[in-house]
């Protein structure tokens, strides 16, 4: 039985941050959860979906984050408790609804869990979601450890119901994907009935219509709610202080930086000199609590990821209350003490504190550091990112990049988000020439597709995954067709949302809870929109390339669906289609006529270049048996045999 639904109160278990959040939501009696896969948030909706049956939940992988937030909001309007979870970029996608949602208010407790990715460990940006809380004027909570991740989530629902508005809980990769001890609480037995009341007086928050108008009234109400929250936050157990009453340095921190800061203080042995004010409630800031701690120190170091949200809010408060608390010297990002990019760690913070206090601190003896760095450089070869063996994208981009070269008009591909984002790298033959947000490839390419009137002859292409297609490409496609752009769209249909863990999407017959659902047909949709549509198997390299060359030559919007299942999908993994081996007698290797096409250019991890024998060979363990390499070998040395 999943420990997430373990009924034993008081038991201590090891939970991942995201699991702790799930447990907190279950203890709060969440009824509905919706989201869109996005690292580092995906486990939240996934785990809730896994226990949906036992806990009587409705859990959905929505088509995109905006709709996910809307689905969760509906539940809240019907007096249920709901949660929506997404990575930082998802909040951007949902932001217009978020603005109106928080202006109109909620009913059943609703929590937005946002998982940011400082350091862009699994993103192509390190954007911030914290600012949204300030901007749409709702409370922001940030758990500082795993117990808090659970406890805060549970409490967030209560807070949301008290103020009848959304509460934002912000996590980061190093919290969401890290694990720690959590003492379990009691699971909720509540089984509320969904009911949407709307006939009451127009201004009645629980029984009137749910609207953000009249704006002056609603906005005033929203700000009053926030004032109430400020009071509540003054005494919140999630804000803690450790250290001397009059510290030489006050560290103000939140989120995962709490653990880093605590450790930094421990490393330096300065817990009698440095005070650590850990804030779990970071918007709005509790003014009295902050004034008290700020007054007791002259120097303040604010520690956070990524941009100085907390730092600037603290400084504003300090400026407003300067007469009471005195002038302060602030350290943080704006003065360069801590980096303004990337994630933090105990060493960066220890270095900052050491500098401020004038302590000599060396993390690693310089000789050892030099030696270890040299060793690593010389003896630990870099591991570049690549597509898995058998990945359809390798074959797709092989065909795409060749087709563009043969078309010979300097055509290019606008990329999108997914495993295939890696096609900007050599593993995808550096095919992508722009890369932004989900669905942006099609939008940007549809813009390029209008520039022929300014003399641009380069054909524009875009790629997107099957999941991305539904999430945000469709409107861009409508735009391109309606405005008669010249554009070739390639949909890389590998039957799943692969990069984030193979979640389902509207193109599949199964949903998050394993239920049977209708699959939407991408080809049919594109044809209905008015695009010219063709479907190919990317493993048929020459046919695919030929089709692409032909389509590139045509005007208007053309959609080529490259359909082949992801190598990691359960069906594919179960069995190899081909046994593949290299006939050494035929292998040309490094000689003119081949020059290691399969290992040097195609670069599938299943193919190994044997430097001793100067021949290529197949790694049977890694090879996925797709047989595509057999098609590209100029000597016909790669042989494939169908497995019975």
């Amino acid at each position: 039985m999943s420990k997430l639904i373990d009924p034993r109160e008081g038991v201590r278990v090891l939970l991942m941050g995201n699991e702790a959040i799930v447990r907190g939501a279950l203890e709060a009696g969440v009824n509905v959860a919706a989201g869109y896969p996005g690292t580092p948030s995906s486990e939240i909706v996934q785990n809730l979906a896994d226990v949906a049956g036992e806990r009587n939940l409705y859990v959905e992988w929505s088509v995109n984050e905006k709709v996910a937030m809307e689905v969760a909001a509906a539940a809240s309007f019907a007096k249920l408790r709901s949660l929506c979870a997404m990575k930082q970029n998802g909040v951007n996608v949902a932001s217009d609804f978020l603005l109106h949602l928080t202006a109109a208010g909620t009913r059943g407790g609703m929590v937005l869990v946002t998982c940011d990715d400082p350091g862009a460990l699994s993103s192509v940006n390190e954007g911030e979601s914290r600012h949204f809380a300030r901007m749409v004027e709702v409370p922001l909570l940030e758990p500082g450890d795993f117990q808090e991740a659970k406890d805060m989530t549970k409490w967030a629902f209560e807070l949301s119901e008290e103020i009848r508005n959304l509460v934002v809980l912000r996590s980061v990769t190093r919290m969401s994907h890290a694990s720690g001890n959590v003492t379990l609480g009691k699971l909720s037995d509540a089984r509320p009935k969904a009911e949407f009341k709307y006939d009451g007086f127009i201004l009645d928050p629980l029984e009137g219509p749910v609207v953000s108008a009249p704006v002056p009234y609603k906005h005033t109400l929203q700000q009053e709610k926030l004032k109430r929250v400020r009071e509540i936050f003054e005494t919140s157990p999630f804000n803690t202080y450790a250290g001397p009453e009059k510290p030489e340095l006050l560290v103000v921190t939140s989120s995962a930086c709490t653990l880093y800061s605590r450790e930094a203080i421990d490393i330096l042995g300065v817990k009698d000199r440095v005070g650590l004010l850990k804030l779990g409630t970071t918007w709005p800031l509790p003014p009295e609590l902050l004034k008290k701690r700020l007054a007791a120190a002259d120097r303040v170091l604010v520690v956070e990821e990524v941009i100085p949200f907390l730092e600037e809010n603290v400084k504003i408060l300090a400026a407003e209350t300067a007469r009471e608390i005195g002038a302060k010297t602030f350290f943080g990002k704006n003065d360069g003490t801590l980096p303004s990019i990337g994630e933090l760690n105990p060493d960066l913070i220890a270095a900052a504190i050491a500098k401020i206090l004038g302590i000599d601190h060396v993390a690693m003896p310089p000789d050892y550091e030099k030696k270890a760095t040299l060793m690593s450089f010389a003896k630990a070869p870099n591991r570049e990112l690549t597509f898995c063996p058998g990945c359809p994208h390798r074959a797709s981009f092989w065909a795409i990049h060749h087709a563009l070269l043969m078309d010979n008009r300097l055509g290019f591909v606008c990329g999108d988000i997914g495993c295939y984002s890696m096609a900007a790298l050599p593993c995808g033959f550096s095919t992508l020439k722009t890369l932004h947000a989900m669905g942006s490839g099609a939008g940007v390419a549809s813009g390029f597709g209008q520039l022929h009137r300014f003399g641009m002859e380069q054909p524009a292409m875009t790629v997107c995954g099957d999941s991305t297609f539904f999430a945000s490409v469709m409107p861009a496609l409508v735009n391109a067709i309606h405005h008669r752009a010249d554009l070739t769209v390639v949909v890389l249909d590998n039957s799943g949302t692969a990069m984030t863990g193979f979640q389902p999407h509207p193109g599949l017959k199964v949903n998050a809870m394993g239920g049977d659902v209708p699959a939407l047909d991408i080809a049919g949709i594109c044809a209905a929109m008015g695009a010219k549509v063709e479907v190919r198997d990317p493993f048929q390299l020459e046919e695919t390339r030929g089709t692409l060359i032909r389509l590139l030559d045509q005007k208007g919007v053309k959609v080529l669906i490259m359909r082949q299942m992801c190598a990691l999908s359960p069906e594919k993994r179960a069995k190899k289609k081909y046994e593949v081996r290299v006939d050494e007698a035929l292998c040309l290797g490094e000689t003119c006529g081949c020059n290691r096409l399969c290992t040097r250019v195609f670069r599938c991890p299943g193919l190994v270049w044997d430097k001793e024998r100067k021949k290529a060979r197949v790694d049977e363990v890694l090879c996925a048996g797709c047989g595509v390499c057999a098609l590209i070998c100029p000597a016909g040395a790669i042989r494939k045999e169908e497995v019975a």
């Binding site: 720690g180 490393i267 690593s376």
Partner: protein, 208 residues
């Protein structure tokens, strides 16, 4: 086997390898063993893109004093359990010191740059040389080979966990391993996992 107290607090273990080797699973097992003994454990991991052929590291902080940074501070690893040889060298660059106990599974997984013929993968004795230069306590374990003999390469991780315990430094051992395994495995699988554990423990106990 195992000591009752931690040699230091927090005690820092890194389990490292290549995406897809079962790194995460191994760290969970070891961490749960420690939780069963009442310790506070913090695990820090890197998921996502690192699965597509990249290096994977799990940082395990063991403490009686609460949660710690999911990332071990620079130079502060106490034990490195490396499921792949060069990954051990890689982690020593940021987290190493001369007292780290390093256990290395000797089976290489070649990076794409190596199999493409562009980068060099060092020979075993070169790797051993580099590691013994960086730490006084290095042991190579033929975990994958033994695991294949037992019937499943993935048991290599269990062998390495056994080896980590077999050093006699950690406050956990076979008993905790069996407890944790019973919670998640079918009864028929338990036997082979215990065999693998014992195999690993014996190897490191002999070498230490």
């Amino acid at each position: 086997m195992g000591t009752q107290t931690l040699p230091k607090d927090p005690f820092n273990i890194i389990i490292t390898g290549v995406g897809g080797q079962g790194n995460v699973l191994a760290s969970r097992v070891l961490a749960n063993m420690l939780v069963h003994r009442g310790y506070d454990v913090t695990i820090g991991e890197t998921f996502g893109a690192s699965q597509r052929g990249g290096s994977v590291m799990s940082h395990i902080r063991v403490s009686a004093r609460g949660a710690w940074s999911p990332q071990i501070p620079r130079g502060k690893a106490d034990m490195v359990v490396s499921l792949e040889p060069v990954e051990a060298i890689r982690v020593m660059k940021d987290y190493g010191n001369e007292e780290v106990r390093i256990l290395v599974n000797d089976r290489p997984i070649y990076p794409v740059g190596v199999i493409a013929g562009e980068l060099n993968y060092p020979a075993q004795d070169e790797i051993a040389g580099a590691l013994t230069d960086l730490s006084r306590h290095v042991w190579f374990i033929d975990a994958t080979e033994e695991a294949i003999r037992l019937g499943n390469p993935i048991l290599g991780n269990v062998i390495m966990i056994g080896a980590a315990c077999g050093l006699g430094i950690l406050p956990v051992g076979r008993a905790e391993f069996a407890e944790v395994m019973k919670e998640s495995l079918a009864a028929d699988k338990l036997e082979i996992n215990l065999t693998a554990f014992d195999l690993g423990a014996a190897k490191s106990a002999a070498a230490a």
